[in-house]
């Protein structure tokens, strides 16, 4: 049986979008998604909220774990095109970050059109904003007043070095949405992870 999507599509997606917009505008600051719709595994409900809010027949979505039921659900509720390969994706859903492909596989845009780049929705174990000195990484960049501290749990060891390498190609890059339970935090391409 097919699961439902947003109960009130117009208003639920509007409220979700406003959180996404603030999350992207204020990187590394965890926010709570207002509505999380049902979602078939391996799609987390928070990721589903993002996909329903932003994706339709004009976007291609790549699933790291292309489960049949999940694909049917996405096609039915969002009408998305499913990308066969990660480099074709407008949006990529990473449901197992421990084994995700290298970041430089995804579209980074071109210098004349840097927005033609992938957005990654990464389902992680936890997102926290630890108090100073209690772990996590420090971030700086547009949208962050001074610095912000964020801990993302469940990424593989190469993730941050790969992302740091991409920063040399700015303004090309990819933009990240981390979700865990009902929590969301964004890292646009311009956010720098500080050493230490």
């Amino acid at each position: 049986m097919m699961l439902a999507a947003f109960a009130q599509p117009v208003f639920d997606s509007q409220r979700t979008f406003r959180e996404l917009l603030q999350a992207m505008a204020r990187p590394a600051l965890p926010r709570t998604l207002p509505i999380v719709p049902p979602a078939p595994a391996p799609i987390a409900p928070a990721a589903m909220a993002i996909l329903l809010t932003l994706c339709d027949s004009a976007t291609s979505v790549w699933l790291q774990q292309p489960d049949e039921e999940a694909m049917r659900h996405l096609r039915f509720h969002a009408g998305v095109k499913l990308a066969q390969r990660p480099e074709e994706a407008d949006f990529a859903l990473i449901s197992d970050p421990g084994s995700m492909p290298a970041l430089d596989v995804f579209a980074r845009g071109d210098l004349r059109y840097p927005e033609r780049s992938a957005s990654l929705i990464i389902q992680v174990a936890a997102i926290q904003s630890p108090a100073a000195g209690k772990g996590g990484s420090q971030f700086a960049g547009p949208g962050i007043r001074d610095t912000a501290t964020l801990h993302v749990e469940g990424l593989h060891a190469d993730f941050w070095p790969q992302r740091a390498a991409l920063a040399e190609q700015l303004p090309l890059g990819i933009d990240l949405y981390f979700v865990a339970a009902q929590q969301l935090a964004c890292l646009p391409r311009t956010t720098r992870r500080l050493e230490g």
């Binding site: 509007q14 409220r15 406003r18 809010t53 932003l54 407008d90 547009p142 949208g143």
Partner: protein, 277 residues
């Protein structure tokens, strides 16, 4: 027939929302978008209206200003439009608004983190008057080659002794993209720098939108020996006495007598209300 909430259909809103998120992720870069034909004329705020429509929800409180004033006819018309198609609450008070759509001004009252400012933009390309070809300006942005603009400003100094741009004064966002702040007076440029509020820009006819995220470095172009300066008046507002706000000059009689009043009508009104309280 019934229009969708906030006029635009959901596919169009999603298209706008995707473009807005990319705009925020690439500060100052003009994202092309599938601008729709709106029931108001191009050049009258269709870009700002589309951005506002993509943002707007039933809990929002909307303020619309033109030239700093809530009661100019085009501001009234846009506010009427959203009251009609979205049924949202509207306000004239900057502090009460969650969303502010503006043409040509940034409010004097400091904005907060939970407010969003939407600018109506007639010409998003700061280099357009220097290079009319879009294919060319796009390449210049790709290379961050802004020599044309520096030469223009330098020629102003050579000819007039000053940079002769008083509004729509170009800025560099996050040290990367040369960006039009829209035709705000350069008086308002400092408010773009490290703003607590997110600022979104929509150009409907030119089909571009862009963003300046909060707490982002925004520099007005200048030279070391010609630093950036904002407008100042010897006069104060004759209604509220403000000495630090942007002033409109009004001709009050047939002999050309002038008076100066705040351009930001809400700011001026609040000050007068406080003074009489």
């Amino acid at each position: 027939m019934n229009y969708n909430f906030a006029f635009l259909d959901e596919d169009t809103k999603r298209m706008l929302r995707r473009a807005l998120l990319k705009a925020v992720a690439i500060p100052g870069y003009q994202v092309p978008f599938g601008s729709r034909e709106m029931p108001l004329p191009y050049g009258w705020g269709t870009g700002g209206i589309q951005v506002t429509a993509a943002l707007l929800g039933p809990d929002d409180v909307l303020k619309v200003i033109d030239q700093g004033a809530d009661d100019t006819t085009n501001a009234v018309n846009i506010r009427r439009f959203f009251a009609r198609v979205a049924g949202v609450a509207t306000t004239e008070h900057t502090a009460d608004a969650t969303l502010i759509q503006t043409r040509h001004r940034i409010p004097e009252t400091s904005l907060r983190e939970n407010q969003i400012l939407v600018f109506q933009v007639p010409e998003p390309e700061p280099l357009r008057t220097l290079e009319p070809r879009e294919a060319e300006t796009r390449s210049l942005h790709a290379l961050a080659d802004y020599g044309l603009m520096h030469v223009k400003l330098y020629e102003d100094i050579a000819q007039y002794g000053h940079i002769a741009t008083s509004y729509d004064y170009p800025v560099l966002v996050d040290g990367r993209y040369l960006t039009s702040p829209s035709p705000i007076p350069k008086f308002d440029n400092p408010k773009l720098d490290q703003s607590p509020a997110l600022m979104l820009f929509g150009a409907g006819r030119e089909k571009r939108l862009y963003a300046i995220p909060p707490y982002t470095r925004v520099e007005s172009l200048a030279f070391e020996d010609h630093p950036f300066e904002i407008q100042r008046w010897e006069q104060q507002c004759e209604l509220c006495g403000a000495g630090e706000s942007y002033l409109d000059e009004v001709i009050v009689d047939d002999h050309g007598k002038r008076m100066f009043v705040c351009s930001d009508t809400d700011f001026c009104g609040q000050r007068r209300a406080e003074a009489s309280a």
